[in-house]
């Protein structure tokens, strides 16, 4: 069962669903088209490749085949094999080559099929690319983007080596920016910003979001990396979330509105650099904070977000901060137990009720 269906069932009643209108980001009247998260990413790639000849794409099966999830499909036909490049199964070398190309003026966009395979490339990502700017005293820059699908929760049973959420691996390394878009609008604007950024950017696409649809403006736009986005304004409680979890937060907020609870939803968008100010300001306003992330709990992103709240809003808190996270377990294969390890809308609802009742 898809997570959306399951959540609808477990919530009972009027079966709210994660429909596109849950998150409206384009002002009425703005010329825009509805597209999927996947199409938005592809469009960002297409536009940036058109705009800048130094942008090229490489990765395993990204050519005609379009990559493991079809994200780069049709780019090969448009730009040819010189700019949409298939590589051997050699993750460390793929990232290393991107770093080399970036050092001498190119803007590579790399795809690793699943974030789980980034383990093979950690030296090149964390110990080479991330540090070159610093080690050379600012002489070098490494403007690449590393796109990686991550996460689970779609009842897909991709098991322990294909379902992880690993954003904090990268966020722990100074020199890397780490972006987790939650909507088609954000995915396009943030990817364009990432490509134009002069630093290595880790761009984590949630697998389950690929088919999610939303409005994307016709006009060229970029979004700032390192700014949270207030997805919903509220006064009673703040939910801080990223990636797919933003949808759980929005759904919960809609439900809670019927109970008379006004929820503010902060989409972290980039966990590094982290926009502590926006989180802090919201926490000071509402005094109640729930943090939601799919990654496993321990040493996951919510720990850092909670610290931001403590540092900036301690005196304003009316309840201890509560978090909803993936469980501390490798992801199991069987549907029946996989289901239980992901955060769901129900968990978010309960957490909000808990801080409200404190």
């Amino acid at each position: 069962m898809a997570a959306t269906e399951r959540d609808a069932v477990s919530l009972g009643g009027a079966a709210p669903v994660m429909s596109p209108d849950l998150i409206m980001q384009v002002a009425p009247g703005t010329p825009a088209r509805e597209m999927s998260y996947q199409e938005a990413i592809r469009e960002a790639l297409r536009e940036e490749m058109t705009r800048d000849a130094s942008v090229f794409v490489m990765g395993e099966d990204v050519g005609k085949h379009g990559g493991a999830f079809g994200v780069t499909r049709t780019l090969f036909d448009q730009f040819g094999g010189a700019r949409v490049r298939n590589t051997p199964i050699s993750e460390n070398t793929i990232v290393g080559a991107a770093t080399g190309a970036a050092l001498v003026g190119m803007r590579p966009v790399i795809e690793i099929m699943f974030v789980d395979f980034s383990g093979l490339a950690m030296d090149q990502i964390c110990t080479q690319a991330a540090k070159l700017r610093f080690m050379t005293g600012g002489q070098c820059q490494v403007p690449w983007v590393l796109r990686m699908p991550q996460g689970g929760g779609a009842g897909k049973s991709t098991a322990a080596q294909h379902s992880q959420s690993l954003e904090t691996w990268f966020a722990h390394i100074p020199g890397l920016k780490v972006v987790l878009p939650s909507t088609p609008y954000d995915a396009k604007g943030l990817l364009k910003a990432a490509i134009r950024d002069n630093n290595p950017v880790i761009f984590l696409e949630h697998k389950f979001l690929y088919s999610f649809r939303g409005l994307v403006p016709d006009q060229d736009y970029v979004l700032p990396i390192g700014k949270c986005d207030v997805k919903r304004v509220g006064t009673d409680v703040t939910i801080v979330a990223s990636g797919y979890m933003v949808w759980h937060a929005m759904l919960a907020a809609q439900m809670l509105e019927r109970e008379g609870v006004s929820v503010e939803v902060i989409d972290v968008r980039a966990i590094s650099p982290l926009d502590r100010e926006t989180i802090g300001a919201s926490a000071r306003k509402t005094g109640r904070v729930v943090l939601v992330a799919e990654a496993v709990r321990d040493y996951g992103p919510t720990g850092e977000w909670a610290m931001a709240v403590t540092e900036q809003a301690f005196d304003y808190l009316r309840a201890p901060v509560v978090r909803v996270t993936g469980r501390n377990s490798p992801v199991p294969f069987a549907n029946s137990i996989e289901d239980g390890v992901w955060p769901r809308t129900d968990d978010v609802l309960q957490a909000v009720r808990q801080v409200m009742a404190y």
Partner: protein, 326 residues
């Protein structure tokens, strides 16, 4: 050449191939019916590799497998019912439903696991080979992997490591000509994958992976050599992946002419003919087929009837308990 293979071994390899083929056909169909979740990579068309290699191995010898791993476990003696239950995600499966198709393992049979990280097994198998060397027994350890895997850094490091430590590691490359959608000529330049062995001063051979006898004989010499301290070897088995990379793969990248000829080579049909020529009766071979079909039917029934794992199972087996003796 194949005639020198003892008839009982020849028959047993036939049985192994048939069991693999039946199992894979069944899971492919069950997958289409939504009975099996996750990614499913089938081994149809490649059966002769696992069968020919593992016919040379003892229970204590170790193997490590890939994302396309069902055939290896079957060839090492895996039970179809416990495998089927694992693929269904049932509590009675080899790994309690926690691993599934890509992570199935049975250490008691010397099968150290399927693996969803391409190339990883080549490194791990060296540890098992080293342990045999260290303990002074004549065990060997076999890593199976694909042509695509030979482009990973891990593979090259593992080959060199095995060579310099003179380990009883046997590297078996299942060259099916593809890494997902990428044909081999687009992911490596060498004519034969076995050329890779030259760089590590390791014997490397290329055999017809559709000829189970040829696979058996090539492995036999590698195993004999490794057991007697002669060090590692590399065997390239040229084979064909009959189906998509995984079951959801539409294979748009495979040329039409190729699609039409995929099943031209059929290791099982060929071996059956060789056995008939050696005087085995058709009735005996049919019986092997029927036994496999029956075993499979039971396996599916077992998997269907088995319970799902309890949700609490998600939080067990994360750590191994510390032994009381500590």
């Amino acid at each position: 050449m194949n005639n020198e293979i003892p008839i009982d071994v020849a028959l047993s390899m036939y049985g192994t191939m048939v069991r693999i083929r039946r199992f894979e056909q069944a899971v492919s169909e069950l997958y289409a019916r939504g009975k099996i979740p996750g990614f499913l990579h089938t081994y149809i068309g490649e059966e002769a590799v696992a069968a020919g290699v593992c016919a040379n191995l003892r229970l204590e010898d170790k193997i490590i497998s890939t994302h396309r791993g069902h055939g290896h476990l079957i060839a090492k003696g895996g039970r179809l019912d416990l495998m089927m239950a694992e693929l269904f995600g049932k509590a009675t499966g080899y790994n309690k439903g926690k691993g599934g198709s890509m992570h199935i393992a049975e250490p008691d049979l010397g099968m150290l696991g399927a693996n969803a990280i391409v190339g990883a097994g080549a490194a791990i198998i060296n540890g098992a080979a080293f342990t045999a060397q260290y303990l002074g027994n004549d065990g060997v350890a076999v890593a199976f992997f694909g042509d695509g895997a030979t482009n990973t850094g891990t593979f090259h490091e593992a080959m060199n490591f095995a060579a310099v430590w003179n380990l009883p590691s046997i590297f078996v490359c299942e060259n099916n000509g593809y890494a997902e959608s990428t044909p081999r000529r687009q992911h490596q330049k060498i004519q034969a994958v076995a050329q890779r062995a030259v760089a590590y001063d390791m014997p490397g051979v290329t055999v017809d992976g559709n000829n189970v006898g040829a696979v058996y004989l090539a492995t036999r010499s590698a195993v004999q050599r490794a057991r007697s301290g002669g060090g590692p070897a590399f065997i390239e088995c040229q084979t064909t992946r009959w189906r998509g990379h995984h079951e959801a793969d539409q294979q748009h990248y495979r040329p039409k002419e190729e699609m039409l000829t995929i099943e031209d080579r059929d290791a099982i049909r060929d071996w059956r003919n060789e056995l008939l020529a050696r005087g085995v009766s058709a009735a005996q071979l049919d019986e092997i087929e029927q036994t496999a079909a029956q075993e499979l039917e039971n396996a599916v029934a077992f998997a269907e009837a088995s319970p799902l794992p309890d949700p609490a199972q998600a939080y067990t087996d994360i750590f191994t308990p510390v032994s009381e003796a500590l």
